[in-house]
Protein backbone atom coordinates (compact mmCIF):
# COMPACT_ATOMS: atom_id res chain seq x y z
CA UNK A 1 0.00 0.00 0.00
CA UNK A 2 2.67 2.47 1.00
CA UNK A 3 4.55 1.53 -2.13
CA UNK A 4 1.63 2.44 -4.27
CA UNK A 5 1.13 5.70 -2.38
CA UNK A 6 4.73 6.59 -3.01
CA UNK A 7 4.53 5.45 -6.62
CA UNK A 8 1.20 6.93 -7.52
CA UNK A 9 0.76 10.08 -5.45
CA UNK A 10 1.83 12.14 -8.42
CA UNK A 11 -1.06 10.82 -10.50
CA UNK A 12 -3.45 11.31 -7.64
CA UNK A 13 -2.41 14.91 -7.19
CA UNK A 14 -3.00 15.46 -10.90
CA UNK A 15 -6.40 13.82 -10.64
CA UNK A 16 -7.39 16.09 -7.76
CA UNK A 17 -6.42 19.12 -9.84
CA UNK A 18 -8.29 17.75 -12.78
CA UNK A 19 -11.44 17.28 -10.73
CA UNK A 20 -11.19 20.80 -9.38
CA UNK A 21 -11.22 22.00 -12.96
CA UNK A 22 -14.12 19.76 -13.85
CA UNK A 23 -16.01 21.03 -10.84
CA UNK A 24 -15.60 24.62 -11.95
CA UNK A 25 -16.87 23.73 -15.41
CA UNK A 26 -19.92 21.88 -14.22
CA UNK A 27 -20.87 23.84 -11.14
CA UNK A 28 -20.25 27.51 -11.88
CA UNK A 29 -22.83 29.62 -13.66
CA UNK A 30 -20.55 32.26 -15.08
CA UNK A 31 -19.61 31.35 -18.62
CA UNK A 32 -16.14 32.85 -18.42
CA UNK A 33 -15.49 30.99 -15.19
CA UNK A 34 -16.44 27.79 -16.90
CA UNK A 35 -13.81 28.43 -19.52
CA UNK A 36 -11.22 28.94 -16.80
CA UNK A 37 -12.28 25.62 -15.30
CA UNK A 38 -11.97 23.99 -18.68
CA UNK A 39 -8.43 25.34 -18.90
CA UNK A 40 -7.49 23.85 -15.55
CA UNK A 41 -9.09 20.57 -16.53
CA UNK A 42 -7.17 20.37 -19.77
CA UNK A 43 -3.85 21.42 -18.27
CA UNK A 44 -4.26 18.69 -15.67
CA UNK A 45 -4.82 16.10 -18.38
CA UNK A 46 -1.61 17.29 -19.97
CA UNK A 47 0.11 16.84 -16.60
CA UNK A 48 -1.23 13.33 -16.49
CA UNK A 49 0.35 12.46 -19.83
CA UNK A 50 3.60 14.17 -18.98
CA UNK A 51 3.75 12.25 -15.72
CA UNK A 52 3.47 9.03 -17.67
CA UNK A 53 6.38 10.05 -19.82
CA UNK A 54 8.74 10.72 -16.95
CA UNK A 55 11.49 8.18 -16.38
CA UNK A 56 13.22 8.28 -13.05
CA UNK A 57 16.75 9.56 -13.55
CA UNK A 58 15.97 10.40 -17.14
CA UNK A 59 16.51 13.62 -19.00
CA UNK A 60 14.70 15.60 -21.65
CA UNK A 61 14.55 13.74 -24.96
CA UNK A 62 17.08 15.93 -26.71
CA UNK A 63 19.76 13.58 -27.88
CA UNK A 64 23.26 14.14 -26.60
CA UNK A 65 25.78 13.41 -29.29
CA UNK A 66 28.12 10.56 -28.61
CA UNK A 67 26.49 9.44 -25.39
CA UNK A 68 24.93 6.04 -25.68
CA UNK A 69 23.88 5.39 -22.13
CA UNK A 70 21.81 8.46 -21.40
CA UNK A 71 18.31 7.68 -20.12
CA UNK A 72 15.69 9.80 -21.81
CA UNK A 73 12.13 10.50 -20.78
CA UNK A 74 9.53 9.36 -23.25
CA UNK A 75 9.10 11.90 -26.06
CA UNK A 76 5.84 10.56 -27.45
CA UNK A 77 3.48 11.88 -24.74
CA UNK A 78 5.19 15.24 -25.08
CA UNK A 79 4.39 15.29 -28.76
CA UNK A 80 0.80 14.33 -28.08
CA UNK A 81 0.44 17.01 -25.44
CA UNK A 82 1.73 19.73 -27.72
CA UNK A 83 -1.25 18.89 -29.88
CA UNK A 84 -3.53 18.81 -26.86
CA UNK A 85 -2.41 22.28 -25.80
CA UNK A 86 -3.29 23.56 -29.23
CA UNK A 87 -6.67 21.92 -29.08
CA UNK A 88 -7.14 23.55 -25.70
CA UNK A 89 -6.33 27.04 -26.85
CA UNK A 90 -8.50 26.72 -29.94
CA UNK A 91 -11.39 25.61 -27.76
CA UNK A 92 -10.80 28.45 -25.32
CA UNK A 93 -10.75 31.01 -28.09
CA UNK A 94 -13.95 29.76 -29.62
CA UNK A 95 -15.67 29.52 -26.25
CA UNK A 96 -14.72 33.08 -25.38
CA UNK A 97 -15.86 34.34 -28.75
CA UNK A 98 -19.23 32.77 -28.05
CA UNK A 99 -19.29 34.30 -24.59
CA UNK A 100 -18.67 37.75 -26.03
CA UNK A 101 -21.51 37.25 -28.48
CA UNK A 102 -23.81 35.99 -25.75
CA UNK A 103 -23.07 39.10 -23.72
CA UNK A 104 -23.97 41.24 -26.73
CA UNK A 105 -27.18 39.36 -27.39
CA UNK A 106 -28.42 38.83 -23.85
CA UNK A 107 -26.62 41.37 -21.72
CA UNK A 108 -25.44 38.71 -19.28
CA UNK A 109 -23.12 35.73 -19.13
CA UNK A 110 -24.63 34.00 -16.12
CA UNK A 111 -26.16 30.67 -17.04
CA UNK A 112 -29.20 30.87 -14.76
CA UNK A 113 -29.98 34.37 -16.05
CA UNK A 114 -29.79 33.08 -19.63
CA UNK A 115 -32.15 30.25 -18.80
CA UNK A 116 -34.53 32.71 -17.20
CA UNK A 117 -34.46 35.08 -20.17
CA UNK A 118 -35.07 32.25 -22.62
CA UNK A 119 -37.94 30.98 -20.51
CA UNK A 120 -39.48 34.44 -20.46
CA UNK A 121 -39.23 34.52 -24.24
CA UNK A 122 -41.44 31.46 -24.35
Amino acid sequence: MSASILGLWNYWAVIVLMMTGLYIVTARDNLVKKVMGLNIFQVSVIMFYVSMAKVRGGTAPILVEGEETVLYSNPLPHVLMLTAIVVGVATTALALALVVRIQEAYGTVEEDELVRIDDDDG
Binding site: L22, V25, L31, F41, F48, V87, A95, L98, I102, A105
Partner: protein, 497 residues
Protein backbone atom coordinates in the same frame (compact mmCIF):
# COMPACT_ATOMS: atom_id res chain seq x y z
CA UNK B 1 -2.61 7.67 -57.80
CA UNK B 2 -5.01 5.00 -56.68
CA UNK B 3 -2.75 3.84 -53.86
CA UNK B 4 -3.14 7.31 -52.35
CA UNK B 5 -6.91 7.10 -52.21
CA UNK B 6 -7.11 6.66 -48.42
CA UNK B 7 -5.24 9.85 -47.69
CA UNK B 8 -6.85 11.79 -50.53
CA UNK B 9 -10.20 11.01 -48.99
CA UNK B 10 -9.32 13.26 -46.08
CA UNK B 11 -6.76 15.61 -47.53
CA UNK B 12 -8.97 16.86 -50.34
CA UNK B 13 -11.52 18.50 -48.04
CA UNK B 14 -8.76 19.37 -45.61
CA UNK B 15 -6.99 21.39 -48.29
CA UNK B 16 -10.17 22.81 -49.70
CA UNK B 17 -10.96 24.52 -46.39
CA UNK B 18 -7.95 26.84 -46.37
CA UNK B 19 -8.31 27.26 -50.12
CA UNK B 20 -11.66 28.91 -49.47
CA UNK B 21 -9.84 31.57 -47.48
CA UNK B 22 -7.47 32.19 -50.33
CA UNK B 23 -10.12 32.27 -53.03
CA UNK B 24 -12.57 34.49 -51.15
CA UNK B 25 -14.70 35.09 -54.22
CA UNK B 26 -18.21 33.90 -53.53
CA UNK B 27 -18.86 31.95 -56.69
CA UNK B 28 -15.45 30.31 -56.68
CA UNK B 29 -15.88 29.26 -53.07
CA UNK B 30 -19.34 27.89 -53.71
CA UNK B 31 -18.09 25.98 -56.71
CA UNK B 32 -15.22 24.51 -54.72
CA UNK B 33 -17.47 23.62 -51.81
CA UNK B 34 -19.87 21.83 -54.13
CA UNK B 35 -17.18 19.96 -56.00
CA UNK B 36 -15.19 18.71 -53.04
CA UNK B 37 -17.85 16.53 -51.41
CA UNK B 38 -18.56 15.03 -54.81
CA UNK B 39 -14.90 14.19 -55.13
CA UNK B 40 -14.96 12.72 -51.63
CA UNK B 41 -17.96 10.62 -52.54
CA UNK B 42 -16.19 9.32 -55.62
CA UNK B 43 -13.11 8.44 -53.61
CA UNK B 44 -15.18 6.78 -50.90
CA UNK B 45 -17.03 4.79 -53.52
CA UNK B 46 -13.76 3.64 -55.08
CA UNK B 47 -12.40 2.74 -51.67
CA UNK B 48 -15.47 0.74 -50.77
CA UNK B 49 -15.23 -1.10 -54.05
CA UNK B 50 -11.55 -1.76 -53.51
CA UNK B 51 -12.02 -2.96 -49.96
CA UNK B 52 -14.77 -5.29 -51.01
CA UNK B 53 -12.35 -6.93 -53.39
CA UNK B 54 -9.01 -6.97 -51.60
CA UNK B 55 -9.88 -6.57 -47.94
CA UNK B 56 -8.43 -4.00 -45.58
CA UNK B 57 -6.07 -1.38 -47.01
CA UNK B 58 -3.34 0.19 -44.92
CA UNK B 59 -1.78 3.51 -45.86
CA UNK B 60 1.36 4.54 -44.03
CA UNK B 61 1.36 8.31 -43.70
CA UNK B 62 4.82 9.81 -43.94
CA UNK B 63 6.06 6.46 -45.14
CA UNK B 64 6.51 5.27 -41.57
CA UNK B 65 5.20 1.84 -40.86
CA UNK B 66 2.85 1.57 -37.91
CA UNK B 67 3.10 1.64 -34.96
CA UNK B 68 5.90 4.13 -35.49
CA UNK B 69 3.88 6.34 -37.80
CA UNK B 70 0.22 7.02 -38.30
CA UNK B 71 -1.69 4.57 -40.38
CA UNK B 72 -4.89 4.96 -42.34
CA UNK B 73 -6.62 1.65 -42.24
CA UNK B 74 -9.63 1.24 -44.48
CA UNK B 75 -11.85 -1.77 -44.10
CA UNK B 76 -15.46 -2.39 -44.93
CA UNK B 77 -16.75 -0.74 -41.79
CA UNK B 78 -15.13 2.64 -42.22
CA UNK B 79 -15.36 2.68 -46.00
CA UNK B 80 -19.09 2.26 -45.49
CA UNK B 81 -19.20 5.14 -43.01
CA UNK B 82 -17.15 7.36 -45.31
CA UNK B 83 -19.53 6.72 -48.19
CA UNK B 84 -22.41 7.84 -46.00
CA UNK B 85 -20.67 10.93 -44.69
CA UNK B 86 -19.50 12.16 -48.05
CA UNK B 87 -22.79 11.33 -49.71
CA UNK B 88 -24.69 13.39 -47.18
CA UNK B 89 -22.22 16.23 -47.58
CA UNK B 90 -22.54 16.07 -51.35
CA UNK B 91 -26.29 16.38 -51.08
CA UNK B 92 -26.40 19.05 -48.40
CA UNK B 93 -23.73 21.26 -49.91
CA UNK B 94 -25.73 22.42 -52.97
CA UNK B 95 -28.52 23.22 -50.55
CA UNK B 96 -26.45 25.68 -48.56
CA UNK B 97 -26.15 28.73 -50.83
CA UNK B 98 -29.90 29.07 -51.14
CA UNK B 99 -30.43 28.36 -47.50
CA UNK B 100 -27.67 30.30 -45.79
CA UNK B 101 -27.49 33.21 -48.16
CA UNK B 102 -29.97 35.34 -46.31
CA UNK B 103 -28.66 34.50 -42.88
CA UNK B 104 -25.13 35.67 -43.35
CA UNK B 105 -23.10 38.65 -44.20
CA UNK B 106 -22.06 38.12 -47.78
CA UNK B 107 -18.39 38.77 -47.36
CA UNK B 108 -18.14 36.17 -44.62
CA UNK B 109 -19.51 33.32 -46.66
CA UNK B 110 -16.10 31.90 -47.51
CA UNK B 111 -15.39 31.41 -43.80
CA UNK B 112 -18.58 29.42 -43.47
CA UNK B 113 -17.67 27.09 -46.31
CA UNK B 114 -14.14 26.69 -44.98
CA UNK B 115 -15.53 25.54 -41.64
CA UNK B 116 -18.04 23.29 -43.30
CA UNK B 117 -15.37 21.57 -45.38
CA UNK B 118 -13.18 21.17 -42.32
CA UNK B 119 -16.08 19.54 -40.48
CA UNK B 120 -16.34 17.12 -43.36
CA UNK B 121 -12.59 16.50 -43.33
CA UNK B 122 -12.66 15.93 -39.58
CA UNK B 123 -15.44 13.38 -39.83
CA UNK B 124 -13.75 11.55 -42.67
CA UNK B 125 -10.45 11.65 -40.78
CA UNK B 126 -12.00 10.02 -37.72
CA UNK B 127 -13.39 7.29 -39.89
CA UNK B 128 -10.27 6.62 -41.89
CA UNK B 129 -7.64 6.54 -39.22
CA UNK B 130 -6.10 3.52 -37.59
CA UNK B 131 -4.51 5.53 -34.81
CA UNK B 132 -6.30 6.47 -31.64
CA UNK B 133 -4.64 9.80 -31.04
CA UNK B 134 -5.10 10.81 -34.64
CA UNK B 135 -8.76 9.99 -34.17
CA UNK B 136 -8.80 12.39 -31.22
CA UNK B 137 -7.25 15.18 -33.27
CA UNK B 138 -9.76 14.83 -36.04
CA UNK B 139 -12.56 14.46 -33.54
CA UNK B 140 -11.60 17.87 -32.22
CA UNK B 141 -11.40 19.35 -35.72
CA UNK B 142 -14.90 18.10 -36.45
CA UNK B 143 -16.18 19.21 -33.05
CA UNK B 144 -14.76 22.71 -33.21
CA UNK B 145 -16.21 23.11 -36.68
CA UNK B 146 -19.58 21.89 -35.43
CA UNK B 147 -19.63 24.33 -32.53
CA UNK B 148 -19.01 27.24 -34.88
CA UNK B 149 -21.63 26.01 -37.32
CA UNK B 150 -24.25 25.63 -34.60
CA UNK B 151 -23.57 29.18 -33.44
CA UNK B 152 -24.73 30.45 -36.83
CA UNK B 153 -28.39 29.81 -36.08
CA UNK B 154 -30.73 32.69 -36.56
CA UNK B 155 -31.93 33.03 -33.03
CA UNK B 156 -29.65 34.21 -30.26
CA UNK B 157 -30.34 30.95 -28.47
CA UNK B 158 -28.07 29.36 -31.02
CA UNK B 159 -25.16 31.00 -29.22
CA UNK B 160 -26.06 29.50 -25.88
CA UNK B 161 -26.70 26.15 -27.52
CA UNK B 162 -23.31 26.29 -29.22
CA UNK B 163 -21.63 27.25 -25.98
CA UNK B 164 -23.11 24.41 -23.98
CA UNK B 165 -22.41 22.04 -26.86
CA UNK B 166 -18.81 23.22 -26.75
CA UNK B 167 -18.46 22.69 -23.02
CA UNK B 168 -19.99 19.25 -22.93
CA UNK B 169 -18.27 18.28 -26.16
CA UNK B 170 -14.90 19.30 -24.81
CA UNK B 171 -15.49 17.34 -21.64
CA UNK B 172 -16.35 14.34 -23.80
CA UNK B 173 -13.28 14.85 -25.93
CA UNK B 174 -11.06 15.15 -22.87
CA UNK B 175 -12.51 11.97 -21.41
CA UNK B 176 -11.67 10.29 -24.68
CA UNK B 177 -8.15 11.66 -24.42
CA UNK B 178 -7.81 10.34 -20.86
CA UNK B 179 -8.97 6.95 -22.03
CA UNK B 180 -6.35 6.96 -24.77
CA UNK B 181 -3.73 7.92 -22.20
CA UNK B 182 -4.59 5.08 -19.85
CA UNK B 183 -4.62 2.63 -22.70
CA UNK B 184 -1.32 3.95 -23.96
CA UNK B 185 0.13 3.64 -20.48
CA UNK B 186 -0.60 -0.07 -20.46
CA UNK B 187 0.51 -0.85 -23.99
CA UNK B 188 2.94 1.76 -25.22
CA UNK B 189 1.18 2.14 -28.53
CA UNK B 190 -1.53 4.22 -30.14
CA UNK B 191 -2.11 2.16 -33.25
CA UNK B 192 -5.45 0.39 -33.18
CA UNK B 193 -4.30 -2.94 -34.52
CA UNK B 194 -1.30 -2.89 -32.25
CA UNK B 195 -3.46 -1.90 -29.29
CA UNK B 196 -5.85 -4.74 -29.90
CA UNK B 197 -2.91 -7.13 -29.76
CA UNK B 198 -1.19 -5.64 -26.78
CA UNK B 199 -4.02 -4.85 -24.41
CA UNK B 200 -3.33 -7.18 -21.49
CA UNK B 201 -5.54 -10.22 -21.38
CA UNK B 202 -7.46 -10.76 -18.17
CA UNK B 203 -5.91 -13.44 -15.96
CA UNK B 204 -9.01 -15.58 -16.11
CA UNK B 205 -11.60 -15.30 -18.87
CA UNK B 206 -14.84 -13.63 -17.89
CA UNK B 207 -13.22 -11.12 -15.51
CA UNK B 208 -12.28 -7.53 -16.26
CA UNK B 209 -8.61 -8.02 -15.53
CA UNK B 210 -6.44 -4.92 -15.28
CA UNK B 211 -8.16 -2.07 -13.49
CA UNK B 212 -6.41 0.47 -15.66
CA UNK B 213 -7.68 -1.11 -18.85
CA UNK B 214 -11.16 -1.21 -17.39
CA UNK B 215 -11.08 2.48 -16.56
CA UNK B 216 -9.56 3.25 -19.93
CA UNK B 217 -12.47 1.53 -21.58
CA UNK B 218 -14.92 3.38 -19.36
CA UNK B 219 -13.47 6.77 -20.25
CA UNK B 220 -13.33 6.01 -23.96
CA UNK B 221 -16.91 4.77 -23.89
CA UNK B 222 -18.26 7.67 -21.84
CA UNK B 223 -16.37 10.25 -23.88
CA UNK B 224 -17.71 8.85 -27.13
CA UNK B 225 -21.17 8.42 -25.67
CA UNK B 226 -21.23 12.12 -24.93
CA UNK B 227 -20.31 12.90 -28.51
CA UNK B 228 -22.86 10.40 -29.70
CA UNK B 229 -25.55 11.72 -27.32
CA UNK B 230 -26.33 8.37 -25.77
CA UNK B 231 -29.10 8.67 -23.22
CA UNK B 232 -28.70 10.16 -20.55
CA UNK B 233 -25.77 12.14 -21.95
CA UNK B 234 -27.89 13.58 -24.72
CA UNK B 235 -29.01 16.93 -23.36
CA UNK B 236 -26.79 18.98 -25.64
CA UNK B 237 -28.21 17.47 -28.80
CA UNK B 238 -31.78 18.79 -28.90
CA UNK B 239 -30.61 22.28 -28.09
CA UNK B 240 -27.83 22.28 -30.65
CA UNK B 241 -29.84 20.78 -33.48
CA UNK B 242 -32.90 22.88 -32.76
CA UNK B 243 -31.06 26.18 -32.98
CA UNK B 244 -28.44 25.48 -35.59
CA UNK B 245 -29.31 26.51 -39.14
CA UNK B 246 -31.52 23.73 -40.46
CA UNK B 247 -29.14 22.64 -43.19
CA UNK B 248 -26.36 22.43 -40.62
CA UNK B 249 -28.61 20.32 -38.44
CA UNK B 250 -29.26 18.13 -41.44
CA UNK B 251 -25.56 17.64 -41.98
CA UNK B 252 -24.63 17.13 -38.34
CA UNK B 253 -27.56 14.90 -37.50
CA UNK B 254 -26.80 12.76 -40.49
CA UNK B 255 -23.05 12.50 -40.06
CA UNK B 256 -21.57 13.63 -36.78
CA UNK B 257 -23.37 11.24 -34.44
CA UNK B 258 -22.87 8.49 -37.01
CA UNK B 259 -19.13 8.87 -36.99
CA UNK B 260 -19.08 8.89 -33.19
CA UNK B 261 -21.11 5.72 -33.32
CA UNK B 262 -18.63 4.17 -35.70
CA UNK B 263 -15.74 5.06 -33.42
CA UNK B 264 -17.56 3.66 -30.40
CA UNK B 265 -18.26 0.44 -32.24
CA UNK B 266 -14.65 0.31 -33.36
CA UNK B 267 -13.43 0.69 -29.80
CA UNK B 268 -15.90 -1.79 -28.39
CA UNK B 269 -15.48 -4.52 -30.95
CA UNK B 270 -12.15 -4.06 -32.66
CA UNK B 271 -10.01 -2.86 -29.79
CA UNK B 272 -11.40 -4.52 -26.71
CA UNK B 273 -13.34 -7.27 -28.41
CA UNK B 274 -16.79 -8.59 -27.75
CA UNK B 275 -15.47 -11.18 -25.33
CA UNK B 276 -14.05 -8.50 -23.05
CA UNK B 277 -16.88 -6.03 -23.34
CA UNK B 278 -19.82 -8.38 -23.08
CA UNK B 279 -18.57 -11.50 -21.32
CA UNK B 280 -16.32 -9.83 -18.80
CA UNK B 281 -17.84 -6.38 -18.35
CA UNK B 282 -21.45 -7.26 -19.14
CA UNK B 283 -21.81 -3.92 -20.82
CA UNK B 284 -25.01 -5.09 -22.46
CA UNK B 285 -26.72 -5.12 -19.08
CA UNK B 286 -26.17 -1.39 -18.87
CA UNK B 287 -26.45 -0.40 -22.50
CA UNK B 288 -29.55 -2.38 -23.34
CA UNK B 289 -31.83 -0.72 -20.77
CA UNK B 290 -30.33 2.66 -21.58
CA UNK B 291 -31.01 2.17 -25.27
CA UNK B 292 -34.58 1.20 -24.66
CA UNK B 293 -35.13 4.09 -22.30
CA UNK B 294 -33.61 6.38 -24.93
CA UNK B 295 -36.00 5.03 -27.55
CA UNK B 296 -39.02 5.73 -25.42
CA UNK B 297 -37.88 8.89 -23.66
CA UNK B 298 -36.67 10.49 -26.89
CA UNK B 299 -39.83 9.68 -28.78
CA UNK B 300 -42.06 10.72 -25.92
CA UNK B 301 -40.25 14.03 -25.61
CA UNK B 302 -40.62 14.47 -29.36
CA UNK B 303 -44.37 14.09 -29.10
CA UNK B 304 -44.63 17.07 -26.79
CA UNK B 305 -42.47 19.51 -28.76
CA UNK B 306 -44.02 22.55 -30.33
CA UNK B 307 -41.03 23.21 -32.53
CA UNK B 308 -40.40 21.12 -35.60
CA UNK B 309 -36.63 21.06 -35.30
CA UNK B 310 -36.71 20.19 -31.62
CA UNK B 311 -39.10 17.40 -32.48
CA UNK B 312 -36.65 16.04 -35.01
CA UNK B 313 -33.79 16.44 -32.57
CA UNK B 314 -35.53 14.46 -29.85
CA UNK B 315 -36.40 11.87 -32.42
CA UNK B 316 -32.66 11.62 -33.08
CA UNK B 317 -32.09 10.80 -29.42
CA UNK B 318 -34.53 7.94 -29.82
CA UNK B 319 -32.99 6.77 -33.06
CA UNK B 320 -29.54 6.76 -31.50
CA UNK B 321 -31.14 4.44 -28.97
CA UNK B 322 -31.87 2.01 -31.80
CA UNK B 323 -28.27 2.17 -32.92
CA UNK B 324 -26.83 1.52 -29.48
CA UNK B 325 -29.39 -1.23 -29.02
CA UNK B 326 -27.72 -2.90 -31.98
CA UNK B 327 -24.43 -2.84 -30.09
CA UNK B 328 -25.92 -4.06 -26.84
CA UNK B 329 -27.52 -7.08 -28.44
CA UNK B 330 -23.98 -8.40 -28.72
CA UNK B 331 -24.40 -10.33 -31.94
CA UNK B 332 -23.51 -9.89 -35.59
CA UNK B 333 -27.15 -9.50 -36.51
CA UNK B 334 -27.59 -6.82 -33.87
CA UNK B 335 -24.52 -4.96 -35.00
CA UNK B 336 -25.76 -5.23 -38.57
CA UNK B 337 -28.99 -3.65 -37.42
CA UNK B 338 -27.08 -0.84 -35.77
CA UNK B 339 -24.94 -0.21 -38.82
CA UNK B 340 -27.88 -0.39 -41.21
CA UNK B 341 -29.71 2.07 -39.04
CA UNK B 342 -26.68 4.31 -39.08
CA UNK B 343 -27.01 4.54 -42.84
CA UNK B 344 -30.77 4.73 -42.94
CA UNK B 345 -31.12 7.23 -40.16
CA UNK B 346 -28.55 9.46 -41.85
CA UNK B 347 -30.71 9.49 -44.95
CA UNK B 348 -34.02 10.08 -43.29
CA UNK B 349 -32.96 12.56 -40.65
CA UNK B 350 -30.93 14.45 -43.22
CA UNK B 351 -33.92 14.58 -45.51
CA UNK B 352 -36.27 15.61 -42.73
CA UNK B 353 -34.05 18.42 -41.54
CA UNK B 354 -33.70 19.63 -45.12
CA UNK B 355 -37.47 19.61 -45.38
CA UNK B 356 -37.57 21.59 -42.15
CA UNK B 357 -35.10 23.99 -43.74
CA UNK B 358 -37.43 24.41 -46.71
CA UNK B 359 -40.28 25.17 -44.35
CA UNK B 360 -38.11 27.56 -42.40
CA UNK B 361 -37.24 29.45 -45.53
CA UNK B 362 -40.85 30.12 -46.50
CA UNK B 363 -42.61 30.18 -43.15
CA UNK B 364 -39.79 32.01 -41.34
CA UNK B 365 -40.55 29.81 -38.37
CA UNK B 366 -40.08 26.28 -37.24
CA UNK B 367 -43.12 26.10 -34.99
CA UNK B 368 -45.36 23.19 -35.80
CA UNK B 369 -48.46 25.35 -35.48
CA UNK B 370 -47.16 27.60 -38.26
CA UNK B 371 -47.13 24.69 -40.69
CA UNK B 372 -50.87 25.09 -41.15
CA UNK B 373 -51.78 24.94 -44.80
CA UNK B 374 -48.32 23.85 -45.86
CA UNK B 375 -49.67 20.60 -47.27
CA UNK B 376 -51.50 22.49 -49.98
CA UNK B 377 -49.15 25.42 -50.49
CA UNK B 378 -45.86 23.52 -50.32
CA UNK B 379 -46.93 20.10 -51.57
CA UNK B 380 -43.51 18.78 -52.50
CA UNK B 381 -41.85 19.74 -49.26
CA UNK B 382 -44.70 18.29 -47.27
CA UNK B 383 -44.71 15.09 -49.26
CA UNK B 384 -40.99 14.79 -48.57
CA UNK B 385 -41.59 15.32 -44.89
CA UNK B 386 -44.34 12.72 -44.77
CA UNK B 387 -42.23 10.16 -46.58
CA UNK B 388 -39.31 10.80 -44.28
CA UNK B 389 -41.66 10.53 -41.32
CA UNK B 390 -42.91 7.17 -42.56
CA UNK B 391 -39.32 6.03 -42.72
CA UNK B 392 -38.82 7.12 -39.12
CA UNK B 393 -41.84 5.07 -38.16
CA UNK B 394 -40.41 2.14 -40.04
CA UNK B 395 -43.17 1.50 -42.52
CA UNK B 396 -42.21 -1.33 -44.88
CA UNK B 397 -40.91 -0.08 -48.19
CA UNK B 398 -38.85 2.56 -46.41
CA UNK B 399 -35.34 2.31 -45.08
CA UNK B 400 -36.47 2.49 -41.46
CA UNK B 401 -38.19 -0.83 -41.82
CA UNK B 402 -35.00 -2.59 -42.81
CA UNK B 403 -33.24 -1.36 -39.68
CA UNK B 404 -36.04 -2.46 -37.44
CA UNK B 405 -36.18 -5.80 -39.16
CA UNK B 406 -32.58 -6.56 -38.25
CA UNK B 407 -32.89 -5.28 -34.70
CA UNK B 408 -36.01 -7.29 -34.00
CA UNK B 409 -34.51 -10.33 -35.66
CA UNK B 410 -31.40 -10.00 -33.51
CA UNK B 411 -33.49 -9.71 -30.36
CA UNK B 412 -35.57 -12.75 -31.29
CA UNK B 413 -32.49 -14.77 -32.16
CA UNK B 414 -31.46 -14.44 -28.57
CA UNK B 415 -34.93 -15.11 -27.30
CA UNK B 416 -35.30 -11.58 -25.98
CA UNK B 417 -38.84 -11.26 -27.18
CA UNK B 418 -39.60 -8.44 -24.78
CA UNK B 419 -36.89 -6.34 -26.39
CA UNK B 420 -38.32 -7.19 -29.79
CA UNK B 421 -41.77 -6.06 -28.76
CA UNK B 422 -40.40 -2.88 -27.23
CA UNK B 423 -38.55 -2.04 -30.43
CA UNK B 424 -41.67 -2.33 -32.53
CA UNK B 425 -43.81 -0.68 -29.88
CA UNK B 426 -41.58 2.36 -29.80
CA UNK B 427 -42.34 2.93 -33.48
CA UNK B 428 -45.86 3.76 -32.40
CA UNK B 429 -44.55 6.80 -30.60
CA UNK B 430 -42.99 7.79 -33.89
CA UNK B 431 -46.42 7.51 -35.48
CA UNK B 432 -47.68 9.91 -32.86
CA UNK B 433 -45.08 12.60 -33.36
CA UNK B 434 -44.96 12.34 -37.12
CA UNK B 435 -48.71 12.45 -37.39
CA UNK B 436 -49.02 15.54 -35.27
CA UNK B 437 -47.07 17.37 -37.94
CA UNK B 438 -48.93 15.73 -40.80
CA UNK B 439 -52.31 16.71 -39.41
CA UNK B 440 -51.32 20.34 -39.00
CA UNK B 441 -49.77 20.49 -42.44
CA UNK B 442 -52.71 18.97 -44.23
CA UNK B 443 -55.81 19.80 -42.24
CA UNK B 444 -55.22 23.06 -40.44
CA UNK B 445 -55.94 26.26 -42.32
CA UNK B 446 -53.44 29.00 -42.60
CA UNK B 447 -54.37 32.23 -40.83
CA UNK B 448 -55.89 34.76 -43.16
CA UNK B 449 -53.46 37.40 -41.94
CA UNK B 450 -50.30 35.30 -42.32
CA UNK B 451 -47.87 36.18 -45.07
CA UNK B 452 -48.37 34.20 -48.27
CA UNK B 453 -46.16 31.18 -48.85
CA UNK B 454 -45.28 29.13 -51.87
CA UNK B 455 -43.19 26.10 -52.72
CA UNK B 456 -39.41 26.47 -52.40
CA UNK B 457 -37.28 26.59 -55.56
CA UNK B 458 -36.03 23.33 -57.10
CA UNK B 459 -32.50 24.09 -55.93
CA UNK B 460 -33.67 23.25 -52.43
CA UNK B 461 -36.24 20.64 -53.34
CA UNK B 462 -33.91 18.44 -55.34
CA UNK B 463 -31.40 17.75 -52.51
CA UNK B 464 -34.27 17.12 -50.13
CA UNK B 465 -35.85 14.67 -52.47
CA UNK B 466 -32.58 12.93 -53.23
CA UNK B 467 -32.32 11.97 -49.57
CA UNK B 468 -35.99 11.16 -49.19
CA UNK B 469 -35.99 9.19 -52.43
CA UNK B 470 -32.99 7.30 -51.15
CA UNK B 471 -34.89 6.27 -48.02
CA UNK B 472 -37.48 4.66 -50.24
CA UNK B 473 -34.93 3.16 -52.61
CA UNK B 474 -32.93 1.66 -49.76
CA UNK B 475 -36.14 0.40 -48.23
CA UNK B 476 -36.51 -1.87 -51.22
CA UNK B 477 -32.98 -2.46 -52.48
CA UNK B 478 -30.71 -3.30 -49.64
CA UNK B 479 -27.60 -4.76 -51.22
CA UNK B 480 -25.66 -1.60 -50.49
CA UNK B 481 -27.03 -1.03 -47.01
CA UNK B 482 -27.83 -4.34 -45.39
CA UNK B 483 -25.38 -6.24 -47.55
CA UNK B 484 -22.40 -4.07 -46.77
CA UNK B 485 -23.48 -3.52 -43.18
CA UNK B 486 -23.64 -7.24 -42.59
CA UNK B 487 -20.17 -7.73 -44.02
CA UNK B 488 -18.88 -4.74 -42.05
CA UNK B 489 -20.43 -6.10 -38.87
CA UNK B 490 -18.62 -9.34 -39.54
CA UNK B 491 -15.33 -7.51 -39.96
CA UNK B 492 -15.85 -5.57 -36.76
CA UNK B 493 -16.98 -8.59 -34.86
CA UNK B 494 -13.88 -10.60 -35.64
CA UNK B 495 -11.95 -7.84 -33.89
CA UNK B 496 -8.38 -6.96 -34.63
CA UNK B 497 -7.01 -9.31 -32.05
Amino acid sequence: MSEHLPILQVVVPLLAGPLCLLLRHRLLVRGLATAVPLACLTIAGLLLHRVQQVGAISYHIGGWAPPLGIEYRIDLANAYVMVIVSAIAAVVMPFLPGHMGSAMVRRREHLFYAIFLLALAGLLGISATGDMFNAFVFLEIASLASYSLVALGRHRRALVAAYSYLIIGTIGGTFFLLGIGLMYQMTGTLNMVDLAHRLPEPMSPGTPGSRTVLVAFAFLAVGLSIKLAVFPLHQWLPRAYAHAPSAVSAFLAATSTKVSYYLLVRVVFSLFGAAYVFDALKLDRLLLPLSIVAMFAGSTAAIFQTDLKRLLAYSSVAQIGYMTLGVSLASVTGLTGGLVHLFNHALMKGGLFLAAACYGMRLRSSRIADLAGAGRLMPWTTAAFVTGGLALIGVPGTAGFVSKWYLVLAALEQGRWLVAVLVVASSLLAVAYVWRVVEVAYFADRDAGAHPIKEVPPLLLVPTWILIGATVYFGLRTELTAGVAEAAAGVLWESLR
